[in-house]
Symmetry: C2
Subunit: 211 residues, 2 copies
């Protein structure tokens, strides 16, 4: 793509994608920016502006073709190709993520699950067996893995992240409660749940202050 798209727009695209998927599931084939605006509770002009970034998929008097727009946003977000995932940390959170079939529908395919807990050895989730962490090196030599999902306690997470990078992983979805220090070409997306919970508690306190 020639044109630089602002980070703010990129941040909003997954939400468009979610609404468009819902529309597809409802069998809606086209939608006007006004209708989409009412559903998404953003202004129609914001929608037009956002989507104009990609050459304007809308047509005057017709609206947006839902499937086309869905596919185009998918391409922009890089989910028109398959991503192979391993999950490192097969506790409840790792298992919950392994169980999300919707990720697989978006092309994120779980191919490996690792843990250090021998009690989990051989447990199988959606057909993927939990392996012990010391088997990971061998595994990663043989499989092409695009994303490692880090769902282990923060204690060893930094060390394991370094190991993953040494083994050729260049993208990490990090749920461990620490900021990873990794080479610049490694892409990291953090989900810090306790930060989110604190944000909620701030908003509760602040709402009460405003009364």
């Amino acid at each position: 793509m020639e044109k630089e798209i602002s980070r703010a727009v990129i941040r909003r695209l997954p939400r468009y994608y979610r609404y468009l998927r819902d529309l597809l599931e409802e069998g809606v084939e086209r939608i006007s920016s006004n209708e989409l605006s009412a559903r998404m509770r953003v202004t129609a002009s914001q929608i037009r502006q956002d989507l104009n970034n990609f050459g304007g998929f809308g047509q005057q008097g017709y609206g947006y073709n839902v499937k086309y727009l869905y596919d185009e946003i998918g391409k922009i977000m890089g989910i028109n190709r398959q991503h192979n995932l391993v999950i490192v940390g097969a506790g409840n959170l790792g298992q919950a993520l392994a169980n999300y079939a919707s990720f697989e529908n978006m092309g994120f395919v779980l191919v490996g699950l690792f843990d250090v807990n021998p009690a989990l050895k051989g447990v199988s989730i959606r057909g993927v067996e939990v392996r012990m962490l010391d088997e990971m090196k061998e595994f990663l030599k043989e499989e092409r893995i695009d994303i490692a999902v880090l769902t282990m306690p923060k204690g060893n997470a930094g060390k394991v992240a370094n190991m993953l990078v040494e083994l050729g992983i260049h993208a990490i979805w990090n749920f461990a409660h620490l900021d990873l220090e990794l080479p610049e070409d490694v892409v990291v997306e953090n989900v810090h749940l306790s930060d989110s919970l604190m944000q909620l508690s701030y908003n509760i306190a602040n709402r009460e202050n405003q009364k």
Copy 2:
């Protein structure tokens, strides 16, 4: 608090809090903005600016008192008081959240767990028993609940969220893959995991484009 603090600063505070907790655990009593800057990989001037919002906890030549700063940020974020939680949806994700002892250390106390799956009835997580969803109304009449955590599939999540609000809940931590439509005085914090995963995949695609 008299002074309006910008949203950007508020968004950064949980990260300060996390680093300060680590420092406390390491037994560090005070730290200069330069040292904190090196650890957190933000500029010392940003740190001074951010923390000046709260009357400047630092002292020239002494640095910041870690415990004091930790407690003050905790107060600002509203986690100096106890929040009682219920989790609605006791699948893997709900169970993962129920198992995070670190939330309880920050004053978020799990008091109820609900699901519609009879197989989960009576299962107990950290001493809290899973109840059936149809018992929730009775339960909420008797307990003071500050936050409901919504960890159920999106199908019924909207309906359950409305029910929670009718039953007096005013804050929802929403993991369901939809945007809730609730009265304005209800505080909602969303964790949309598929949005986060799409963001990661965008960054992967974009990194590769830049090569």
